[in-house]
Each structure stands twice: as structure tokens, then as C-alpha cells.
């Protein structure tokens, strides 16, 4: 029972991270049609920023987070303007460019951090919340969960309640029709990648005190984000968020009660099965021919 409760809390925390990773990927793919392979590296940049500012130079954690978001966002905007925009007609070119960015960001991280073991950030909130007799949740993890859910809420509000959000969703549904309606595609693309990259940077910043920080940490991020995106439906943000929490729960429980390796294999298999049975994902919409 204790393990069960702990696992539910863990699932929520992991789900929050998975969702932050995946919404950016979905936004960028939806609006620009580009698979951003460097998305995991944006997360890594967020984590390195916190390591560099907070752990190395004693900048307060709560200031390091917005800086991480801004840096990731700037990188995203540069990618949009100079790589994705000139290649808008050729999604493959955009994908390949993002692989180029992936290499460059990894090397920059390597140069900033130097060789050596994985970087660590001591948790700024090191209290532990005890609920009942045996449920112990570190404050740091609760904080991450809260911020993740809050930012997903803000994103939801932005997309559904603001004019810009409507425009963004319209572009994601049908780019040409939106352009004909007078929507500025360049502007919407910049907003999409800005928001997506910011979410990735935020995720990285929140993860920094919780896990090993290495230049290659983006690899796991992108694989998980792919699984979540595919299972949730490539064009669907709500699907991605739902899939993120479902997949996190699945992975956490299989890991806690069985084995993490089996959890990963099952994750890949689920993805392949979803691709075969319903390539548009559990909540995706079929795009007409």
C-alpha cells in the first residue's frame, strides 16, 4: 500500500515532466510540420543553465529557472528563423537541420561543463513532506510537479482562451487555409517554437536537481517524448498530456513492481502497436487526404 501510494506520487511527477517534454514537440510539429530532433537538447540546455548559474555561481534557483527558459527559447527562435523557416516546404530538411543543432548543443554543453562525471545540482528545497505514516515526498519534487502543472494550465489557457492561441491551433489544423485567412504564419511559428522551447527549458531546469546532468541526457527525453506523442496522437496537445501521465504511470508502476528495463521495452512495443493499429494516436484526428 505504501509503495502503491508512493508510485502514484512518482507517476504524477514523471507525468508532469513527460508532458512538458511532449507538448513542445507536438506544438512544433503541429505548426511547422518539423520533427525537432534537438528537442531533448533544449531540455538539456535548461538543466545545464541551472547547473551553471545555481550550482556553480550561487545564483538563486528561482532566478536560474527563468534564465533557463529564456535561453532555451532564444535557441528555439534562432532555429525557427534560420533553419526551419527557409526549409518550410521540406520537412526532412528541417529534421536534418535539427540533428545538426543537436550535435552543436551537445558539444557546447560538453565545453561548458568540461569532461568528467555527470553534473549534479543540490536540491534548493531539501525539506521532506511526510504524509501519514509512511508517505514521504521531497519538497523539491512537489515543487517541480506544481510548476509543471501550473505551466501546463497556463498553456491550456493560452491556447483555448486567447486570440493568439486560437490562431495557433488554426495553423496547426490547416496551414494554407490559415494563411489565406490572414494569419501571419511566421509569427505563429515563432510563438509555437518559443512556447515549445520554453516548456523544454523549464522541464530541464526543474529536472536539474533531480537527476544526472550530462550532454547526452536529451536522448532519453526525445525517445520518451516520441512515445508519448505517438501514443497521444501526433496533432493533439491534450492527447499528448493525457498520454504523458498514462505512460508515466505505466512506466513507474512496472519499474517499482517489476523492472525498469521491461518497462522501456513495453513502452516501445506500445508505440509500435499504436502506430500499426491507429497511426493517429489515441486522441489524434485523421488528417484528410
Amino acid at each position: 500500500m505504501e509503495l502503491f501510494l508512493q508510485s502514484i506520487v512518482n507517476s504524477l511527477i514523471q507525468g508532469g515532466f513527460f508532458a512538458l517534454w511532449a507538448v513542445g514537440l507536438v506544438l512544433i510539429f503541429g505548426v511547422m510540420g518539423v520533427v525537432n530532433f534537438a528537442h531533448g537538447e533544449l531540455v538539456m540546455v535548461g538543466a545545464y543553465t541551472v547547473w551553471l548559474l545555481h550550482a556553480q555561481n550561487d545564483v538563486p534557483f528561482l532566478i536560474a529557472i527563468p534564465v533557463a527558459i529564456i535561453i532555451a527559447m532564444m535557441i528555439g527562435l534562432v532555429m525557427e528563423r534560420f533553419l526551419f523557416r527557409p526549409n518550410r516546404t521540406d520537412p526532412l530538411a528541417g529534421l536534418i537541420c535539427s540533428i545538426g543543432v543537436l550535435f552543436i548543443l551537445q558539444v557546447i554543453a560538453h565545453e561548458v561543463g568540461g569532461t568528467g562525471p555527470a553534473k549534479q545540482v543540490a536540491p534548493p528545497f531539501n525539506q521532506i513532506v511526510e504524509i501519514g505514516e509512511s508517505l514521504r515526498i521531497p519538497m523539491q519534487r512537489l515543487f517541480s510537479l506544481g510548476v509543471a502543472i501550473a505551466s501546463l494550465g497556463v498553456l491550456w489557457f493560452f491556447l483555448t482562451k486567447t486570440k493568439l492561441g486560437w490562431a495557433l491551433r488554426a495553423v496547426a489544423l490547416d496551414r494554407e487555409a490559415s494563411a489565406l485567412q490572414g494569419i501571419n504564419i511566421n509569427r505563429i511559428s515563432m510563438i509555437a517554437i518559443g512556447v515549445g522551447a520554453a516548456m523544454a527549458g523549464l522541464a530541464g531546469a526543474l529536472m536539474a536537481p533531480l537527476q544526472n546532468i550530462t550532454p547526452h541526457m536529451g536522448h532519453n527525453v526525445i525517445i520518451t517524448a516520441f512515445i508519448v506523442t505517438i501514443v497521444g496522437g501526433v496533432g493533439s496537445l491534450s492527447g499528448a498530456v493525457a498520454a504523458a501521465f498514462i505512460y508515466a504511470a505505466f512506466h513507474t508502476f512496472v519499474t517499482a513492481y517489476f523492472n525498469g528495463t521491461v518497462a522501456t521495452i513495453c513502452g516501445l512495443l506500445i508505440m509500435v502497436v499504436v502506430l500499426i493499429i491507429k497511426p493517429t494516436g489515441i486522441m489524434g484526428v485523421k488528417v484528410s487526404e
Binding site: L83, P86, I99, F103, I230, T261, I265, L275, I276
Partner: protein, 317 residues
């Protein structure tokens, strides 16, 4: 093949036969890997002819490599038998994968092929018996033929050169044949091709199976020189390099990917030997080259060469 092209091919082959004798010992190994990589990119091009970009190609190379390694290590098969079986094994696995994979196209196919490839790699890692887990299979025997010592790079290079040349010739024949024409047709307008009776599923599968056969052979060639096969040799990082070679070289023509892999390998070694760039920084140089080639030469190096030649020949005329 025109007489001119034939002469060019013969000159290049003659050059390749002479080349290792002018190289330092450690560069002779690189020549073997380069020849193998040429087969990898050219067979990959056959897969991409139908317009689908697969991320499973390098894993298929691994399927061939593991097949050959296991046959020679556990069943004592000579290389000359295990190598073709390696190709057939990769082709068989590819044929099985066609059923799920070709239900998808474009982005979904890309991700689906990636997931299927990762799943195969995980199988190698987690089933220690018989795949050897993360450390793979060691001490693979080199080929045996008379008194030739295939531990030495030059004989191994010549053998690789012969097998790769035959494979390239076959792949070239396929591309220039009616089959190649149909594959192209499937790429440009699948519904139109179907409207005149082309079974697009069959042709997509054919491309994947034939491409996998040759990359399986390439895998066997590679690991019998290395002496060891591990799951890490066939990771997504290696696949990314195949993509880079093909795209930087130019995937519109048969020679483009070959130019890509040769130029970038020479560039890579030059960079390393020059000592200008710290090895740790090299991936960033690769990344920059990749981006630059997409932005400034969409047809790849091959396109630049073609433009240069057509321009100069135009001036001569």
C-alpha cells in the same frame, strides 16, 4: 553504362587497388570501413528511392552482422557462407517488418522504423543467451582462403572492395532498370503509380528487403574485420551519420551518397590528424557542415559537382 563511365569506373578501381600501398598502416583500416560505409549508404539510397526515410537501416546492418557472427562463432560456418546468409537474414527480418511498417508513411514510418530498430537492439542487449548482451560476441574469426592473411588490412580491403563493387554493380543495375523506374514512380506519385497497376506496398517492401540484404552483407564485412559485434555499433548515432553522408553527398543520384561518405570521412580524418579541433568538438563541426549543406546546397555535394561540370562543359561548347 556508357563507355566514358566505364572508363571512369575502371580508373577509380585501379586507383583503389593501388591506394592502400601509399597509406600508413592505420589508414588502411579506415579504407576498409570506408568501403563498407559506401555499401551502407548506397543500399540506404535504394530504400529511400520510394520516398520513405527509414531509421532502421543500421539496425539491419546489425542483423546481418549478428547472423554472420553467430553462425561462424557457434556453428563454425566459414565466412564465405555466413556472409550471404547474413544478407538473407537481414532481408528476411526486413520482409517481416514490412507488414507493420508499411502501414505507415512519412513521419509515422520514420518513427515506426526507429521504434522497431530500437526494439531489435534491446533484444540483443537483454538476451545474453545467445546475443551476448551489451558486450556482444567476441573473437570472430576472419575469412579463410588459402594462405591469405585476412587479419592484415590490405587483403581484407581487397576482399571488401570486390564484394562492395559487385554489390554496387547490382544496386546500380536495379536502379537503372524498370524496377528502379517503378520505385521512383512510387516515390513521386504513389496513387498515379497504383492507377496503372503498380502494387506500391510490394515495391516499398522490395526496396526495404533488397536494401537490407546488402546492408546485412556490409554488416558481416564490418564485424569480421573488427572481430567483435556489439549492440552499440548499430545505435541511432550511427544511423544519424548515414543520414548525414547521404544528405551532404546528395541523395538525388547514385553517386551522391558515395561522394558524401568519402568526402566526409576524409574531412573527418583530416580534422583529427591536423589537431586543430579537439576530438570532443568534432561533432559540432559535423553539425555545422550538415546545416550548411541543407541551407546552401540542397542537392548536396553531388549537385555542386554537377553544376560545376555542366557549366564548364557549357562554356566549352
Amino acid at each position: 553504362m556508357s563507355i566514358k563511365n566505364l572508363i571512369i569506373c575502371i580508373v577509380i578501381l585501379a586507383g583503389l587497388v593501388a591506394l592502400p600501398h601509399f597509406l600508413a598502416y592505420n589508414f588502411q583500416d579506415l579504407l576498409i570501413f570506408l568501403a563498407v560505409n559506401v555499401l551502407v549508404v548506397v543500399s540506404y539510397r535504394l530504400v529511400t528511392l520510394t520516398g520513405e526515410w527509414s531509421l532502421i537501416h543500421v539496425v539491419m546492418m546489425g542483423v546481418g552482422a549478428y547472423a554472420s557472427a553467430m553462425l561462424s562463432k557457434m556453428a563454425g560456418f566459414p565466412f564465405w557462407i555466413s556472409m550471404p546468409i547474413a544478407g538473407l537474414t537481414a532481408a528476411t527480418i526486413a520482409a517481416l517488418l514490412c507488414f507493420p511498417l508499411f502501414r505507415m508513411t512519412q513521419f509515422y514510418f520514420l518513427i515506426g522504423s526507429f521504434a522497431a530498430g530500437e526494439a531489435i537492439r534491446l533484444v540483443w542487449i537483454y538476451f545474453i543467451d545467445p546475443f551476448g548482451g551489451s558486450s556482444g560476441i567476441n573473437n570472430l574469426p576472419p575469412p579463410e582462403l588459402g594462405d591469405i592473411d585476412f587479419y592484415e588490412p590490405i587483403p581484407y580491403f581487397y576482399m571488401t572492395l570486390i564484394i562492395v563493387t559487385i554489390s554496387l554493380f547490382i544496386l546500380y543495375r536495379i536502379e537503372k532498370s524498370r524496377v528502379g523506374l517503378t520505385l521512383n514512380a512510387v516515390h513521386w506519385k504513389a496513387p498515379l503509380a497504383e492507377s496503372v497497376g503498380v502494387d506500391t506496398w510490394k515495391y516499398r517492401s522490395l526496396a526495404l528487403i533488397v536494401g537490407s540484404f546488402f546492408v546485412g552483407i556490409a554488416g558481416a564485412l564490418k564485424v569480421h574485420y573488427l572481430g567483435v559485434v556489439t549492440p552499440h555499433q548499430f545505435g541511432i548515432g550511427v544511423m544519424v551519420f548515414v543520414l548525414i553522408w547521404v544528405i551532404v553527398g546528395g541523395y538525388a543520384s547514385f553517386v551522391g551518397p558515395i561522394i558524401g561518405v568519402v568526402v566526409l570521412t576524409v574531412f573527418d580524418q583530416g580534422l583529427r590528424a591536423s589537431g586543430i579541433v579537439d576530438p570532443a568538438v568534432q561533432p559540432a563541426v559535423y553539425g555545422a557542415v550538415l546545416i550548411a549543406s541543407i541551407l546552401f546546397m540542397p542537392e548536396g555535394l553531388e549537385g555542386i559537382g554537377k553544376r560545376f561540370f555542366s557549366k564548364s562543359s557549357g562554356e566549352n561548347a
